[in-house]
Amino acid sequence: MIRTPLRPLARVLSAREKGENPDHIERENIRLRAEETRANALNRAEGRLLLLGAAFFLAFCVVGVRMGTLAASVPEEPRSASTGTEISGGRADITDRNGRILATNFSTFSLYAQPKQMVDPEHVATSLVKLFPDMNAEDLQRRFTDGRSFMWLRKKLSPEQMQAVHDIGDPGLLFGPRDMRLYPNGHLASHVLGGASFGAEGVHSAEVIGTAGVERAMDARLRDPAQAATPLALSIDLTVQSTMAEVLEAGMVMMNAKGAAGILLDVHTGEVISMVSLPDFDPNNRPQALLKGDPGDSPLFNRSLQGVYELGSTAKIFTSAQALDIGLVNPDTMVDANAPMRWGKHKIGEFEGKNYGPLLSVTDVIVKSSNVGTAHLALKIGGERQQVFFKSLGLFDPVPIELTEAPGAGPLIPKRWADIVTITTSYGHGMSVSPMHLAVAYAAIANDGILLPPTLLKRDRIPEGTRVMSVQTAEASVKMLREVVTHGTASLGEVPGYEVGGKTGTADKVKKGGGYDKGKNINTFASMFPASNPQYVLVVTLDEASENSGAKPRRTAGWTAVPVAAEVIRRTAPLLGLRPQIAYPPLNAVSAPKP
């Protein structure tokens, strides 16, 4: 830029010659310069305004065109959305291990009213009461007319009921679609499934939430929209479950028991094949929990998981197994079994005051179910090692299984572990666990000493498990359990071909205030089959059973739980595909097939 000087020398000189004031020239130049600057600024501002105006004009044009197209086009939803993967808002089905449906969804309708649109509230109220006898006409009419604009009437309707409500023909009665949970098998596996109810409810849909059992424990998985199309496969076998429930129900009636529980566990995978608790309920119409009295009397009570009772003699095998494992004894070592045994102020006797002593081999301690012999074994082991072993068998913690009730059903363990506790727990008294605990611990013995966490879900991959005893100990223990059935307290448990091995347990119920209730007992038979290569563990528990065919009622497990368990094995083992090991006569000329 060429800067024009304010006082150009030529003009100043000529002005001086003419006698003018050269300061005028400077002032003139300053004015010209200021004018030029103003013109420039004006130009720039005009340009900016123009640009801004154009931008606004364009923006309004875009808005206008968009409004125009929206106003002129037909309103419709975008329809070319892809329909590749199926994502449904429904809850996933639950199936058994073979894919048979245990729980599924069913579309139905709920009924609600908008009383402000109602034509004849009185007629509606009386007609509804005719359809649903549990409703109250006066109450309904009062609520239809007290100015509210909305009320629920019924959560689920059958198609017939819906038609009948349609026939009332009042515009104030409306229906909302509902997905309802359906358990097609009724009572079967009710404690495993639990039940479902509605959570947040709207007119157009309602949330289905699990209230108990697997439904609640696996709620997040069942509600996950990404997995809604794949059903949740349980480890339960529907056929076995049904058979076991049938046999246990018959056994419960025959043995005059108040309740029964049965658990069948696959020892190699830890899967629960069947879990029955009687009395049971219909999960489609789940009863209310008892508000007073013993919750154990409610059909909702899962005896196989929540029924925490003293084990009775079924625990003896743990003591003998530990003694074998540590190397204190071998199955033929003779131990002191002289009854009654005195320990401080306590007296430990045998069943009906018998004395199997003075000496018994470890095998015979188990076969004859000697309390005194087990007590001596436990004293040799010592309380601390005993606690560590029980803990490793999972007897001190709640069972880690996929049921809501599981964490709340922890075992009852004495706080102080005195020597007398060591003695009593060695034969299953003074410590309470559930049949499920027992089944898991027996499965560890049957699975060559490896404890697997139990599961209600079908397992694709078997977890590693923890070794709780050596293979030799496990094998020796299984052999002892087999002898209990062949010539011990569980002789009624023999099922030809299936080599049942097991241990009986009879325990008196603990009274509320303390002490034992003599007439009320829990009879348990914990068994495994076939003994030569254990595949399954079965635990059957009968609550307050007595066998009344003799002169006086027999209340021991050997007379009550064992025959029921034997029948369960006889019926379920073929269903599980186990061939009976029967020695067939050798082929002779008649029976041999022709070459």
Binding site: E86, R100, I101, N185, V495, Y498, P574, S591
Partner: protein
């Protein structure tokens, strides 16, 4: 030359406009078909799940057990039993077909019934051999 080019391009333009018009309607029809099919699929899925539920309900073990008991006469079904397992050796071979004597070739026999002209069958003459008597 130039007018021909003009006419030609005008015709091309018109045919393209006609093609676009048809394509537009074809697309709309296809979209409508798709939405109808989607609705049908949803309906079918719903009825499939309902039928599956119904199938499970009709096949519930308690009902099957009752049906088996009711129809024992015709079905004769019993619960599975260990005794139903047996080695292959003990399964009997199928019986060979029974060795009956072969039937000979059938012979057609034709005869006339002698009538007396009024439709009555005449008695065979006395002394003539009958099938009752040994020949």
């Amino acid at each position: 030359m130039r007018p021909i080019l003009f006419i030609l391009s005008a015709m091309v333009l018109m045919s393209l406009a006609f093609w676009a018009y048809r394509e537009n309607y074809a697309t709309q029809r296809a979209l409508k078909d798709v939405s109808n099919l989607n609705r049908e699929i949803a309906d079918l899925r719903l009825s499939l799940s309902q039928q599956r539920a119904e199938w499970a309900y009709l096949n519930r073990p308690s009902r099957l057990r009752d049906l088996v008991a009711l129809n024992f006469d015709s079905l004769g079904l019993l619960p599975m039993d260990p005794g139903q397992f047996s080695p292959v050796d003990q399964v009997a071979f199928p019986q060979p077909p029974a060795a009956l004597p072969e039937l000979g070739t059938p012979i057609d026999t034709i005869g006339d019934i002698e009538t007396d002209g009024e439709g009555h069958v005449e008695n065979p003459p006395a002394g003539a051999p009958t099938s009752e008597e040994p020949l």
